[in-house]
Symmetry: C2
Subunit: 145 residues, 2 copies
Amino acid sequence: MTTATRNRWAEHALGKLQAAGYRRGGARTAVVEALSRHDCAVTALELDDELRRRKVGRASIYRALEQLEQLGLLRRLEASRGVASYERIEPGGEHHHHAICSQCGRMIPFEDASLERAIHAVSDRMSFDAAEHEVTIRGRCDRCA
Amino acid sequence: MTTATRNRWAEHALGKLQAAGYRRGGARTAVVEALSRHDCAVTALELDDELRRRKVGRASIYRALEQLEQLGLLRRLEASRGVASYERIEPGGEHHHHAICSQCGRMIPFEDASLERAIHAVSDRMSFDAAEHEVTIRGRCDRCA
DNA sequence: ATGACTGCAAAGCCTTTGCACGCAA
DNA sequence: TTGCGTGCAAAGGCTTTGCAGTCAT
């Protein structure tokens, strides 16, 4: 993941927000910038920590996350029990999935072409208009084994 | 999914609970029975509806679900936003995944052998001790398209 | 000037915990 | 008899909503 990729997402996101009729508010822009600094899933509360000093309210963070998700710019995941986390959706389609250690909570990203192929084949076969998909593997990581 | 399969799970679950040192309480048994009647994910609140007339408290349902999950008898999923749902883990290993319609919320189960193979290959390659995995496809179902 | 955007505080909702009573072993 | 199991009610924790002031357009 390069800096160029992150900026590409941020520009893409800001453009799409504008196209959707949203104004360029300070809080929302701060959320987009914060998200562009993360390469894996972040929770709303983690973003709140990062943005508190910039005087961004928690409610604005949740509102921005919801809008970004609606526009297909963010993927919402359940990281730990009952906590949502968010991850950029790259305009190019590149993405990864997660292996989560049940013991230490570590989240290990991975990608696999044949897994992607299998998923696409399934959605085609079901005549389901798939927009997103997520794969989560749970178990014990090598450090905890 | 046959009645025999459901009963197999219930017996398997009750046996494993006993082996883990749990007593055969009425509420827990009621939860196991209720779960054995569902072939796809159910939420705790749905179970609560079903078990209210049997005078089972909501807290007992949540407690039973957590114990069953710990023992590897149940898989916890996030169905709708912020709501957990639970699904039996069959002793035989057979299982399905879900396509969820973002518009109507319908949950369509599916299974695919090559998808399973790809997932196993990935976890082997990562030296991650995978106990469970879940695949969720999100988009628009054929009825809503 | 108009109405979207924002922060703060309050409310919501699912889930967990505390506690005293009841029941399994 | 012992202490796990249970129901009820209260507390928790993340997320959403209401509202009045502020800012983008």
